[in-house]
Assembly symmetry: C2
């Protein structure tokens, strides 16, 4: 994955469409932030972004979530969640319980330790993001939020067409 696709493309001959330049800049921004967050999660908490994301899902749903629900919310495959859940369970941060009404399904929830650990990570994470994006004014952040919303809508529309 190109961390700085834009720089890489800097000396590319013109002829790329406008949209490609926009896409590369979007990718660059995201990758810069994501790489830094991964690095800090690893350095300060010895964990990874996927693990953090999974804990965040559970935090939002104290009643527990099935593996399938997690997989849909995180937009990753089922098999992926199987592995993540196994590691988090081994670390004692989450626990599984087989559903009373459906013996195929099992729901995951945070353990007390998981809740406590995630709270620490989450607070730090919030600070990191605020620090990294803090150079933007409130007005800029709002404009960006709105435009990214438009971009998201555009992409989803594009997916509809192709996948129909």
């Amino acid at each position: 994955m190109l961390l700085d696709a834009e720089t890489a493309l800097a000396d590319a001959p013109p002829g790329h469409k406008d949209e490609v330049r926009l896409w590369l800049r979007l990718l660059t921004c995201t990758n810069l932030i994501e790489a830094e967050i991964r690095r800090r999660l690893r350095a300060e908490f010895d964990t990874t972004l996927p693990r953090f994301d999974l804990l965040a899902q559970l935090e939002r749903h104290p009643g527990g979530l099935t593996l399938g629900e997690i997989s849909r919310r995180m937009m990753v495959s089922n098999g992926n969640v199987t592995g993540l859940a196994a590691r988090l369970e081994e670390e004692g941060l989450v626990e599984r319980r087989v559903s009373a009404t459906d013996r195929r399904a099992q729901s995951l929830r945070l353990t007390a330790r998981g809740r406590k650990e995630f709270a620490r990570q989450s607070a730090a994470h919030e600070g990191w993001v605020a620090e990294l994006l803090g150079g933007l004014s409130l007005v800029e952040r709002e404009a960006l939020q709105r435009l990214l919303g438009r971009a998201k809508a555009s992409v989803r529309a594009g997916l509809q067409e192709g996948g129909a």
Copy 2:
């Protein structure tokens, strides 16, 4: 100790700091586009994004690049490039040559077939991106480009501080 019970990832319920909501939307946008591009590269060309990115680097440098240069430009590890290069060589899309002046180094360049294949992929890629982002007006795209530039600058500034 900060205990923010509202904090979570994915599609951002309220309670997050402004910046986190912005970050999550940025991430969602990028992931949507990236997943679709990966899917199409796989479906239509039986290849992957990292392979495509590596070919793109070589395309821009017809004189060849050493593995180390590629690794720096793509901002990935050395070992990563070793593996990618091995697969691309096996597919006959790139060729290696040991440097005449430094027996440690070897430069990679596109084969004729690699050049031809990349041209096909690149044209398709450009079309996909244009299609996915085509729902934005020119004005919106320009505004987004500018704001993302600002965001990038903010992040780089944030990295300086932390990493100094």
